[in-house]
Symmetry: C2
Subunit: 585 residues, 2 copies
């Protein structure tokens, strides 16, 4: 059925919405695709719903092709499954919780790992049932602290989430590959550039984890890539440690006075002055005190030593110490540990080791992988206004472990030897990763194998943000006039604009629209009777259907104009040829 603008529920807006921070948000609201209902929560208008349905259609087709079956879990779920997995607590303020009239705890699900796991546990019992991949396209909820950027970071959003179930690691690898391939096809069909980056697998303990990032300046994520093909998000980047150095013949550590040098810059300047050296920040060891809050609520201070020319990266440190929450140590923390002299902290003092394996403080000490055995450092002497130089790693101090918390810098070597990396901005549009047996163990999902032995199932998790992709596509496909959708997801195939005061133009437009519909083309017909051609053209440009047909002055001669929204090219053709031209592909 032809959709007529004279009746359609569409009002374009002249003004940008006051709260729009990004282009996609601005244009989707102005062109009548979405409307804000609450912070981070949107109403879908008819145009928006059409584009969303097209994206979902492509995702469904590729899921079916990958052998996945669609299910649908409730959004409102009881506490118990999330209690079993430990996530009821772990989510903190990040989810919406509520109680029913009987005072039972519920949540609005942010993800459904527990439910997928329990459903399969409920119905399956044998290795013969596997492999299985099931998915849903569903509205999810996260109580974001700062919902922003329109659909890009909302509190109610649509996701496709799939889970695979296998009983062997090889099976998981195969299921993973099927989904990974499906994701590549989806993004190719949507015309979205993507980079597949290695990602940290967090707590789950599975083997592979990859994010699909869409490179864009409005992306929230920073990722790392080398010209040689390496790509990872910053959390997953691993440092190339230098070779250890022989200790032999290195002089002993020397404590020296260093008044008023609590920062690396002041320390380097002072050291060069008093030691007559040419030290740089890279020669200093910066010891940062962090407070971890563990899942059981206990608080632990740890110290991490990194080269003084680097900073602790918030995302990397979060992943390094997960599931504990990390924050800088407070004055109260320092007050409890008089051995840690703020601004002058180091792993060693003239009395012996202060931090690390042999220390008696009980404070764990972690080192950046660059601090290899035999490397020599200027660092705090654990005495106010004093530092030490020629403090040699492995000889004078040791660590309780190595952590990847220092920031990645352009020029750092890629861990796979493919050359120096650069940093870029990207938006996460998909994530495939191997959950492994984390949830299956927590929730007791086991099957009998070929030998009649119960084995724990191994799972993969595969997510695509449908509403986020829609916003990303709007971000990618626009110009100063408005949106310019790719044909695969445009709300309509053709936008027919009837202009002028001549009945003949409107009649021809009606006929053309009807012929196009008969040929299977979805038509939006601008048949508004008293609207000027300028307004109609402006609306067509704003709405962004890729193919526009103008039926106006030439109608009396049986001519219409084909207008390519993307290139702006216009071409006059006989109305009789228009259907063929518009359905030619």
């Amino acid at each position: 059925m032809v959709t007529r603008l004279s009746h359609y529920f569409l009002r374009t807006l002249r003004e940008d919405p006051a709260d729009a921070e990004v282009t996609s948000h601005r244009l989707l609201v102005r062109a009548g695709y979405i409307r804000r209902a609450a912070p981070g929560i949107f109403t879908w208008l008819p145009l928006g719903l059409r584009v969303k349905a097209k994206i979902e259609g492509i995702v469904r087709e590729e899921m079916t092709r990958a052998g996945a079956y669609e299910v649908h879990f409730p959004a409102l779920l009881p506490r118990e499954p999330y209690e079993l997995s430990g996530r009821w607590e772990a989510y903190g303020d990040g989810i919406f919780r509520l109680k029913d009239r009987k005072d039972a705890d519920y949540l609005l699900a942010p993800t459904h790992e527990e439910m997928f796991t329990l459903l399969v546990k409920d119905l399956y019992s044998s290795y013969k049932d596997l492999p299985l991949t099931i998915y849903q396209i569903q509205d999810k909820y996260r109580d974001e602290a700062r919902p922003r950027a329109g659909l890009l970071r909302g509190r109610e959003f649509t996701m496709k989430d799939a889970y695979s179930f296998d009983y062997t690691d090889a099976g998981l690898d195969a299921s993973y590959q099927l989904q990974r391939d499906a994701y590549e096809r989806i993004f190719q069909r949507l015309g979205m550039e993507y980079v597949i980056v290695n990602a940290d697998n967090g707590l789950m303990g599975g083997a592979r984890s990859e994010e699909f990032l869409h490179p864009t300046p409005v992306g929230e994520d920073t990722f790392v890539r080398s010209a040689g093909g390496y790509a990872a998000n910053v959390e997953a980047f691993t440092t190339v440690a230098p070779e250890p150095i022989a200790f032999d013949g290195l002089p002993a550590p020397v404590v020296f006075d260093s008044p008023d040098t609590p920062t690396i810059d002041t320390l380097v300047a002072h050291s060069n002055a008093v030691l007559e050296g040419e030290y740089t920040a890279a020669d200093t060891l910066k010891n940062v005190v962090l407070a971890l809050t563990h899942l059981d609520g206990t608080r632990e201070l740890v110290v991490v030593g990194i080269p003084g020319d680097r900073e602790v990266d918030d995302k990397r440190v979060e992943v390094a110490f997960a599931p504990a929450a990390v924050e800088p140590a407070t004055e109260a923390d320092f007050a409890k540990h008089p051995l840690l002299v703020k601004g002058y902290i180091g792993p060693w003092s003239e009395l012996g080791p202060v931090l690390g394996e042999e220390s008696a403080t009980g404070i764990r000490f972690f080192l950046d992988p660059r601090v290899v055995d035999g490397s020599s450092w200027i660092t705090g002497a654990n005495v106010d206004q004093k530092h030490v130089h020629t403090l040699v790693a492995g000889r004078d101090f040791t660590a309780d472990g190595f952590v990847e918390v220092a920031n990645v810098r352009p020029g750092d070597p890629a861990p796979d030897g493919s050359g120096p990396v650069e940093l870029a901005r990207g938006m996460e549009i998909g994530h495939v990763f191997q959950l492994g047996r984390f949830f299956a163990e927590k929730l007791g999902l086991k099957v009998l194998d070929e030998n009649g032995k119960l084995v724990t199932v191994t799972m993969g998790s595969y997510g695509i943000g449908v509403t986020r992709i829609l916003a990303a596509l709007a971000e990618l496909n626009n110009d100063d006039k408005g949106l310019v959708w790719p044909a695969s997801i445009a709300p309509f195939d053709v936008h027919v604009v009837a202009t002028g005061r001549d009945a003949v133009a409107f009649e021809l437009a009606e006929k053309l629209a009807a012929d196009l519909e008969a040929a299977g083309v979805d038509v939006l017909l601008d048949d508004r009777p008293k609207v000027s051609p300028g307004v109609k053209f402006g609306d067509a440009e704003l709405v962004g259907v890729p193919r526009i047909v103008i039926v106006g002055r030439g109608a009396a001669d049986g001519e219409v104009e084909l207008w390519d929204r993307r290139t702006g090219e216009r071409e006059t053709v006989a109305a009789a040829d228009a259907v063929a031209a518009l359905t030619a592909g």
Copy 2:
């Protein structure tokens, strides 16, 4: 793509679920369509999702045909719009409420009148924009006190809700009719018997309100119908009052002793004994004391007088006094009103009027419409152990108003003169009603009319319970073997069963399935290699695809069996003719 049972996410169950109260729930769980996630909250498995999508597809087509446009509102909504309409409070315990991390109030929307109204207010301003009808198909939430009967009364459920917007009453009537016609087409296409009954419009004040009831013994609603075509739910039934009777010559009221007669039965027996009459319960006036709780929290006692052969109907009394909540008066209420002598209450005593317009008690008194002026009653005398007879309405007592609270009985005359009514059970499957200007006034939705004057918009509300319809269709379409879907909503068009150990049967089944898919037929292929024919047939019967093809023994001769699930008829045809036979319509 052919869906293969060897891989499909489907496990049928031999046992009925323990919590299933109704056939639809039992079969939908056993046949692998749904799975319980929490009380009144269900997970949709692949088969269930397919049927749901088909129902939604039919609803969408008919909405489009009726000129309605689809939108989609969030399920999670802020308090404010519901505060403006007064419903945040009015919903009581019936909805899910929650707070976000900033302590702002939210709810899971049970219906979206406020949001529809505000959206149109946001975008429209002129009579030229109207009429408009928009709808959504959406998951809704109600915190039912007693979720039950599977999908029939759930806490998370899918509805199609539409709203029309007009600026004249005639416009509303036209929009209403379009939706009403669409509903008739929807139920006809779904093959569901329905009765359109008049319904009470409650608080909204609009003119028309009709429910689509599906007659079924498992229905929760009682409705009333006459052979002459009248139909109404019990709340909306209106009593045909007899003609008033002249008072002249009627004897004066007489108080008489009536020890131990607090019930109508004891009163009638006693009256017939001491008055030597042939009275029945219909000659007595029963005065019931009710406690109303008004929206502002105040509690008010009222008395309703009804003929002694009727009961107060809970649903009718609820509607009669809405929006106040109604409950029977408590002992504490009686204690506060010593004039009301329990068991012996009447509108009159020897001291004069106790209830009604001229009473000084301040307790409002309502009468059943049958208590017409001149009718004569035996009723309480407001003295313990005493009643009064020949108490004449309009002469000895008057009311503050008339209310429809007495129960409807088979044989009562239909208000439209179409004869006596009968009572039947039905399930509400749709509701169309004229909201009128209730929400538009509360939320300030006005448009400029032809004369440039601001007028308040008038609205219609049109709801269909998608998941409830699915359950109702399962309730309607089954036999002792399982489900028997109508073709229009079956999860697959054809279920091909390959049986036996012969590779030739499996090969022929594969070829037939592929040919059917090529002809546009959705096929479920039972290609499970080591499952007995009996199990396969049982599963096919349970799942309920209406057309089954058995490819087994005859395969070597190029023959297959067509099996009509509903009639049980089987017919052997050449495999080469099967596609034609199955696509013949």
